[in-house]
Symmetry: C2
Subunit: 282 residues, 2 copies
């Protein structure tokens, strides 16, 4: 099938590479505000043609929107204006409720499938795209009852080609769970980076002493604000809720240390250790 890729960066680029490799995508039109990214994506084989939005959608069976969630909200209604009952539109955004609410009354609402692939890195742009990125990861489809069966089937084919397994959720539930499991990790990591940059004025010392542990915890702090400010804003209430809990958890460590309460310190750590079993490790 022919595909329009709106946003030719890390996520869209990775999807297109794999869908082409698997033969599901016969031709990919690239649409992006960033002309350099479009040219990079073309030279990397992510897209076959740089196109306008209208021309691309007109000639495509599937439209994949892989841009920041605020930009998705702005463009989605226009894209749905351009489609007919043979076309499917899917997104890849990290928040869902605001996006589905923005088109709930659109006459082509049922051509849209709200999708969130549970993969990403701290990098961005077409050069960061990796074909096998999504293998073994979950893809979440939200509010499936509002999408046409054949549109859902198309997205199922995409997920199969990406080697992902599908999970179904209400958009509102998705946003609660991703605040807990994904969004707070980013704030934690940003705040850790800012903490270290504030306290450790000797940058060379950071570089020299940084262990694999520090690098791992601070990895997400390299993620760009263009993607993450809109996510935090669109999921504000859920993110604030979990951020309050996180500050309260850090205060427990502080109190345990201040009061030399070894038992509490050990209990806090043993509780945290449970994450090993939950993540499916030994």
């Amino acid at each position: 099938m022919k595909i329009t890729l709106i946003g030719v960066g890390l996520i869209g680029g990775s999807m297109a590479l794999k869908l082409k490799a698997k033969g599901l995508a016969s031709y990919v039109y690239g649409v992006d505000q960033n002309q350099n990214h479009l040219e990079e994506a073309k030279s990397l084989g992510i897209i076959d043609e740089i196109s306008t939005l209208e021309n691309a959608v007109l000639n495509s069976d599937l439209i994949i929107i892989a841009i920041p969630v605020d930009a998705t909200r702005k463009i989605l209604s226009n894209v749905l204006d351009l489609v007919d009952d043979r076309k499917t539109v899917m997104d890849a955004g990290s928040t869902k409720e605001g996006i589905v609410n923005s088109i709930e009354d659109h006459p082509h609402r049922n051509r849209f499938v709200a999708f969130h692939p549970m993969w990403g890195t701290e990098n961005s742009g077409p050069k960061s795209a990796i074909s096998d990125s999504f293998s073994g990861r979950a893809g979440v489809i939200c509010d499936r009852e509002n999408s046409a069966d054949d549109a859902l089937e198309t997205v199922q084919k995409v997920a199969d080609a990406l080697d992902m397994h599908l999970i179904y959720m209400k958009a509102a539930d998705h946003d609660v769970h991703t605040a807990y499991i994904s969004h707070i990790s980013h704030i934690t990591s940003y705040a850790l980076a800012n903490t270290v940059l504030e306290k450790e004025r000797e940058e060379d010392t950071i570089f020299q002493l940084a262990s694999s542990g520090f690098s791992s915890t601070v990895r997400l702090a390299k993620s760009h604000p263009e993607m993450w400010v809109p996510i935090f804003k669109q999921n504000k209430e859920n993110v604030l809720d979990v951020l309050n809990e996180h500050i309260s958890q850090l205060r427990k460590f502080k109190s345990a240390l201040e009061k030399d309460n070894d038992e509490l310190l050990e209990e806090l750590i043993r509780n945290a250790n449970k994450i090993r079993g939950i993540l499916g490790e030994k």
Copy 2:
């Protein structure tokens, strides 16, 4: 040379494997409170012989102490009682000031080299040991002026065999820097795990939605309390200082979100992004 390994777990085991592979260690005596670990270490080729502390030290040129920092403080003076001027003692602990202070008046103080290899994982025990773990990492030697030249040369040979480069610091400075760069990362990660476990009661959802980003940020939360409670306690003042800063950084995110202050949110993220350059990446 013959080596005594006190603590045959992740760090000691990884060191012994590499020192044997490089031919620097001709024979390794293993000393540990955990009999299972001793037997595992022997069957994994980490040690050649299970021994008492006295017998091991008597027959060794180098004694490596790789146990939790509270246990190191308890045992170090006894080990120095057993050595003569031809033997070298080194540790691998993550805090340094308490350890060097505990033996500052010992008649064999100059046989001890305070060492900290900047590597570790969230795992423990001899089965976690990896021969090439330390390659390219920094090894910190503290208060070198209190160690004999030949003892420092022995540790230099060890660092060379492990493919590490040495950095020299005062013990007090080491503890400040590691609080900033290493110890706070662990508290951050523990607190993140506890946050998610508190908010997300559906463990299966954590497992299903956990992305590589979450796994990365929460990795250190799998680290055992036996190692980390003593580190936090021995570095209490520095850790509390950086923990206060970290809570204050999280409050800035909270305030920016609550007040819809997009500019501050973006500024906080852009500042955090600087860590990419400091860690030596593109």
